[in-house]
């Protein structure tokens, strides 16, 4: 019986956050700091004809103005094609950095940035994915092109079919914290405070850009004010910050403005999808054709595997799911919460709803008819899959059986009521990760790993896991992260941190237990003589036999007897072999009520029940918060979020929080999140799966389906704004 895993725990870093003591990247105190401000291009494509920095250089407080003419060149790294600024006169996207002004104060740098005069040779640009469809190509990695069965023939012969196109605009993550870095050099050694989801990735990127050994770069990132994917790839400001610091021989800080974030870290790509479904009259799917196209940049290939998860959702013998990309004169897109999955499932789950209406079958029933008992893609069994339980529990909590099938059949005065549902899916990934535990004879432990905590509660989850397996109280554990001086951990992305880093912490704790047992059994009359490490556990300072706790050794006495103030173990956890024999996914079911104003087309999401099955829950308190946050991201995607590009200028016209709408508290009414726990011994030693992205995956489709039920209008282009319903 677990003491801490699965029990609610308030965040261990909570006090630091509510008192303002938690330090984010821009907030470290470094003496003699200079402030950088980025000057951005005003064209989307072309070259810089001339750049005049004289007036800016004369402005008060300005130390230096860097442009492509005087900035040093970064090393070329064929493995890392991410954009590096100020390297040539070429403009690849609008709002690309063309200069960096460094001054004594932020205000001086910002003021002088307006004095930099740039003349361009503009070239004809294309930022509109729709205009480029003829040039759509397969991503070079060739993933996802495998065809199952014969979908074209099956579709042709299907007695019931639906086919439609779906569109998702560019969206930006908009974490509340702007990206920022502070860099300083000591000789050839670089230290940088950065907002990142992976300190090791930033370290590698910086070391390769400057041509210095990785060991000479320290990246520190203890708190991240939200990221959602925007701090996964190396962005261009850390290299700029470090470059300026090196040239000026003093610490430099760069903070993006909110506007610069829209061209500073990537975005969810503009995505067009076509879904065709064929079914027999009983509702059994006979064909799925799911094709997606989204944009990338002109200088880099990115794809979010839009149709990847959709291959594994329904049992269907004939399937083709593909993704093509087109090159636009925009910055490179990137992963944004539930990348690919939420886009692909918006299309697939909308199409399933359309099919339900074509068949006159209840939408939930249609999902149950096509339930995948084994992985339709690989034929492997699931390590665990409680999706059916999610459907049934969600339907019951929501009151789905009271739903009237016909659209426009429920009403509350001027408001049309609609009920919709959809399925969510995400992976159960695990990547190699390492953690180090130092157990001290005073009964405390220090646990470290270079993972990050962008908000889900990694600090707390790791503290819980360490406390559980070291048999200590959470107050006796100090967990630290976000520092390249700690053992390597993967990027905090793909919802795999608890699985990966948690397994490493678990493994390190087991190594501590084994070490203690070894010490104990050096003594001839140890009560644990003959026991294997797996037979014993640590509990409140006792190393005891699991089967007979009366046989124990006091661990801390033992350490003292051996003159050990502390013992340290580092453990690297890797995905198990066994995983290869199974298909592993996390699932969820979402039920949504909307009210749509019959005259104004305003959509209110009045009620959501979301049931998720993602293995074991380490900390229900933070886990529910993750799911609620995911649901609200789904609301934003469904109803509000869109980055508008004026294609005439190739420029984003709403790069701020006034015009890019993220959900506010008035958009969030009743949200209930429920977990159906799965006992999964295959995925990893802790039995945990990803949940951070899962929470939003089915929501946009569920809302669109509810809007259809309310109004009879099928909106296939997000966001569902009132104009589309009038």
């Amino acid at each position: 019986m677990a003491r801490y895993i699965g029990k609610e725990m308030s965040r261990v870093e909570g006090i630091a956050k509510v008192t303002g003591r938690a330090k984010y990247a821009a907030e470290f105190r470094v003496p003699n700091l200079a402030y950088g401000f980025i000057v951005s291009s005003s064209i989307a494509k072309g070259t810089i004809k001339s750049i005049d920095t004289r007036e800016a250089e004369r402005a008060p407080g300005v130390i230096r103005v860097f442009t492509h003419l005087n900035a040093p060149k970064f090393r070329n790294d064929p493995q890392d094609r991410s954009f590096r600024a100020l390297q040539s006169d070429r403009i690849y996207f609008n709002m690309q950095p063309v200069a960096l002004v460094v001054a004594e104060t932020y205000e001086q740098a910002r003021y002088a940035s307006r004095l930099v005069k740039v003349d361009y040779n503009a070239e004809k640009h294309q930022t509109d994915t729709e205009a480029l469809l003829a040039s759509a190509r397969d991503p070079s990695h060739g993933r996802g092109t495998r065809v199952r069965g014969n979908p074209e023939v099956a579709l042709r012969e299907a007695p019931v079919k639906v086919e439609a196109e779906y569109r998702i605009p560019i969206e930006h993550h908009n974490p509340m914290e702007p990206h920022a870095a502070i860099a300083f050099w000591e000789g050839d050694r670089l230290t940088i405070f950065d907002k990142t989801q992976g300190v090791y990735e930033v370290r590698r990127h910086l070391a390769s850009s400057f041509g210095i050994p990785e060991e000479d770069v320290t990246v520190i990132s203890p708190f991240v004010g939200g990221a959602f994917g925007s701090a996964l790839r190396p962005n261009y400001y850390p290299t700029l910050t470090a470059m300026a610091a090196r040239e000026l021989k003093r610490p430099v800080k760069i903070v993006y403005t909110r506007t610069q974030m829209f061209a500073g870290h990537g975005y969810r790509p503009y995505t067009i999808q076509r879904v065709a479904l064929g079914a027999d009259r009983s509702g059994k799917l006979t064909a799925i054709i799911h094709e997606a196209v989204h944009n990338t940049s002109s200088f880099e290939e990115f794809d979010d595997n839009t149709t990847g998860f959709a291959r594994q959702v329904y049992a269907c013998p004939n399937l083709r799911a593909s993704l093509k990309i087109v090159s636009t004169d925009l910055h490179t897109p990137t992963w944004m919460r539930a990348p690919g999955a939420v886009s692909g499932m918006f299309a697939l789950e909308s199409a399933m709803d359309e099919l339900a209406y074509a068949l006159k079958i209840d939408p939930l029933q249609l999902r149950l008819i096509n339930y995948a008992e084994t992985d339709p893609e690989s034929g492997k069994p699931w390590s665990s899959k409680a999706l059916r339980e999610c459907y049934l529990l969600g339907a019951k909590k929501f009151g789905w059986e009271k739903r009237k099938f016909e659209p426009r059949s429920m009403r509350d005065g001027e408001w049309l009521i609609g009920w919709g549902m959809a399925t969510g899916v995400w992976g159960a990934f695990q990547a190699p990760a390492a953690a180090r535990i130092t157990l001290r004879a005073d009964g405390t432990a220090h646990v470290v790993s270079a993972t990050s905590d962008i908000g889900p509660g990694t600090y707390t989850a790791m503290t819980i896991i360490a406390a559980e397996f070291l048999g200590l109280k959470p107050e006796q554990i100090k967990f630290e992260l976000g520092d390249t001086r700690f053992p390597r951990a993967p990027l905090e992305g793909g919802s795999m941190t608890t699985a990966s880093v948690g397994s490493a912490v678990h493994g390190a704790a087991m190594a501590i237990v084994a070490r203690l047992l070894d010490l104990a059994n050096r003594n001839e009359d140890s009560p644990l003589k003959g026991a294997a490490a797996s037979d014993v556990e640590l509990l409140d300072g006792r190393l005891q036999l699991k089967s007979d706790p009366s046989r124990y050794v006091d661990a801390f006495d033992l350490m003292k007897r051996h003159n050990l103030n502390e013992i340290t173990e580092t453990f690297e956890a890797r995905p198990s072999r066994e995983r290869e024999d199974y298909a592993m996914l996390a699932h969820g079911a979402q039920f949504v009520e909307v009210k749509v104003h019959s005259e104004l087309g305003i959509v209110r999401v009045t009620r959501i029940v979301e049931v998720t099955a993602c293995g074991r829950i380490v900390n229900p308190k933070t886990a529910h918060s993750q799911e609620i946050g995911g649901v609200v991201w789904g609301i934003g995607m469904a109803l509000q979020e869109a980055t508008e590009v004026d294609h005439r200028y190739g420029r984003i016209v709403n790069p701020n929080l006034q015009h890019y709408h993220v959900p506010v508290n008035a958009d969030v009414l009743e949200v209930e999140t429920i977990f159906v726990e799965e006992d999964d011994k295959i995925v990893n030693p802790l039995g945990v799966k990803g949940m951070g992205e899962l929470g939003m995956v089915g929501i946009p489709a569920a809302i669109a389906n509810a809007v259809f039920h309310a109004t009879g209008k099928r909106i296939r282009e997000l966001p569902i704004t009132p104009d589309k319903l009038l």
């Binding site: 308030s10 965040r11 870093e13 909570g14 006090i15 630091a16 956050k17 509510v18 008192t19 303002g20 003591r21 938690a22 330090k23 984010y24 821009a26 907030e27 105190r29 008060p60 104060t105 932020y106 205000e107 003021y111 993550h173 908009n174 974490p175 509340m176 914290e177 702007p178 708190f223 991240v224 004010g225 939200g226 959602f228 903070v255 403005t257 909110r258 962008i454 908000g455 889900p456 509660g457 308190k621 933070t622 529910h624 918060s625 993750q626 609620i628 946050g629 995911g630 649901v631 609200v632 701020n656 929080l657 006034q658 993220v662 959900p663 506010v664 508290n665 008035a666 969030v668 949200v671």
Partner: protein, 160 residues
């Protein structure tokens, strides 16, 4: 640009400072006084992360010039806990889990604190109104609203 001398009381401590006329209150707090608990989310008046109290009223520090605060009393998130004891609003945000990344949290807490100062028993609508200026990208707001409700019921902390 000429600096001006201002006198300003920050978290109970009186300071006399030279400020450039284009220095915002936000940068005065963060850069000059190292009070980085007050966050910069947009620098545009759109997000509420920079909310502080000026003479008891919630104000967006990013669109307030420091020079305008001459003679004012400013309270930041760092000024809420007394003698190492969290304010009830801080306590409630922590225990209710009204935060994830924590970046909106100081602003949320300051808006909520100001609400409870002027209205100790707010309705849910009044709570939502009071924090309507504050964006949160992580939590989905529900636990933040719950935290403010809970703070209002912490009778033992109310009188201070």
């Amino acid at each position: 640009m000429r600096c001006e001398l201002i006198t300003i009381k920050v978290n109970g401590e009186e300071r006399t400072l030279a400020v450039a006329p284009n220095r915002t209150l936000l940068n005065l707090l963060r850069e000059d006084l190292n009070l980085t608990g007050t966050k910069q989310g947009c620098d545009d008046g759109d997000c509420g992360a920079c909310t502080v109290l000026v003479d008891g009223r919630p104000v967006l520090a990013c669109i307030k010039l420091a020079a305008q605060c001459d003679g004012c009393e400013v309270t930041t998130i760092e000024g809420l806990a007394r003698e190492g004891r969290l304010d009830r609003v801080q306590e409630a945000f922590w225990h209710e889990g009204g935060m994830q990344c924590g970046f909106c949290t100081p602003g949320m807490i300051m808006s909520s604190y100001a609400l409870l100062q002027r209205n100790p028993h707010p309705t849910e609508a009044e709570i939502r109104q009071a924090i309507s200026n504050n964006l949160c990208r992580c939590t989905g707001y529900t636990k933040i609203v719950a935290a403010v409700k809970r703070a209002a019921t912490f009778a033992e902390f109310t009188q201070r």
